[in-house]
Symmetry: C2
Subunit: 329 residues, 2 copies
Amino acid sequence: MERDNPLAPEALGPTVTVGEILVEIMATTIGNGFLAPQALVGPFPSGAPAIFIDQVAQMGGSCGIVAAVGDDDFGRLNLDRLKADGVDVTAVTVSADKPTGSAFVRYRPDGSRDFVYNIKHSAAGEVTMTEAAKALFSRAGNVHVMGSAFAISGLWSILSEAVSIVKARGGSVSFDPNLRKEIMQGAEARKRLDAMLSITDLLLPSGEELLVAADAVDEGEAVERLLAKGVREIVLKRGDEGSTHYSKVFGRVDCPAFTVEEVDPTGAGDCFGAAYLTSRRAGLSPARSLLYANAAGARTVTKQGPMEGVSSKVELDRFIAAAGRETEA
Amino acid sequence: MERDNPLAPEALGPTVTVGEILVEIMATTIGNGFLAPQALVGPFPSGAPAIFIDQVAQMGGSCGIVAAVGDDDFGRLNLDRLKADGVDVTAVTVSADKPTGSAFVRYRPDGSRDFVYNIKHSAAGEVTMTEAAKALFSRAGNVHVMGSAFAISGLWSILSEAVSIVKARGGSVSFDPNLRKEIMQGAEARKRLDAMLSITDLLLPSGEELLVAADAVDEGEAVERLLAKGVREIVLKRGDEGSTHYSKVFGRVDCPAFTVEEVDPTGAGDCFGAAYLTSRRAGLSPARSLLYANAAGARTVTKQGPMEGVSSKVELDRFIAAAGRETEA
């Protein structure tokens, strides 16, 4: 018999994720790249796993992150923010040697973006399974896996171990595939993806990631195939077209998007996933969880800075009420 | 018998230096560090050796640099600038893997500065003696050594080899000790310093560096000791108190400073040294070379950005004339 909720309840322990903590520096003008001095703003706390886990904390979920920063202001900026918001940072290593990772971003006139990254050779590139990380996983209720880890062998081995530890104690696994085509080249990446899908309780793809994950040509086929594989719940992020929950228990549940003016889309998917996961772990229905997730994704794009639009539960309740949607679900 | 000018003439070949190429990102407000998002401006081309060599080029001296940048906009920004200004960049490696080095800088209320660096693990940290570098040294007339290289074993071995190659063909060595106390800890650093001093034709210390270099307690003793050791010419940078040339041939030659409003002191010493060296290699007297050097140092501090205040020969001539000092020397 299928349980109503595949996710481990809050009481089992924190949601823990693994990955990069960065600062983001943003160009304040639209144009092509960084070939001349220009006005910038930053450093903003950033890194998809960091944004995700901060949104979990702001929703009131207990949570922690396994990561590494440099012994510099960029690392302190991130740790201060995460700590202040309630994230367990006991498993964040401070590298004596490498700087905190960074990403410079500038919007082009056509809406695409130019980046200059320092990640691989930064502290973010040397996350390891420390004693502190093991201790955190040993009391975790849910591991949240980000697809960007597929490209990094070190992260992948930590995640594999983490998933085993957490599953063994009755915990659950959420997975945001965040797949880029260039990551999915090669048999190794596909093998890792399939291994992860086989133990995923909640899958959070956006757009075409669903088809890539399922190796399918349309949404219906993809959903069917993934649920047959053992994925318990799929939540498809459709951006300004809202979101959809799929599961054997509830079938299909749609939730229309909130209409907002987009200032900076960075982090929208991470906030969405965090709000959904935390709502479900708190025992809310799929429909209600989608409403919070859509609200969290919508609010974050109205603020400049990847982590600046993260919302507290109270802010989401107000936002939902202001949109006249508090009676939903 | 002492020659009038210990520096190899322009005709022998270019002035070549070795070291870090960076971008600099500057905070636009005064305050403590980078613990919160704030207004910034950048990326500016930077790195002491890059500023130095750009000033040599702008003075009309032939020159090149041995360095490494990343395959990113920050590297392209630097290469574009150096090439446009006439620097030979054939010995600049473009790393496929590592990002271009960077330095964030912010002024504190007391005038001191906070930095966040990414140098050691950037492309700047992997400069090697490539075939292109050897080819450049094999036709160089002067090697310019920066003291910051003392801390980096890889750079030191390149410089040692470069000095041998250039000396063997009748070239000269200029040396800006740029000594920081923390670099001079340990017997190895002292040994390297003494080895370099023993073949230095032109030494360009600022302030207390003269005393550290000579291991002396006052200026007179330091100068005497260094000239006895074989240093042919010493030019002491005194900031807003001007500069002084010492040599056996000309004795002491002083040059008062130009009075300017300081906006950004970064690069002043590098521009000073480049203007002096290039003037002397062009055959100008110590007094006239000091005047150009003081003018180059003064002009650069009036501009924001480390390489933005580099001056052409024409600009220096105008600046000197405007100050009513064109008749000097």
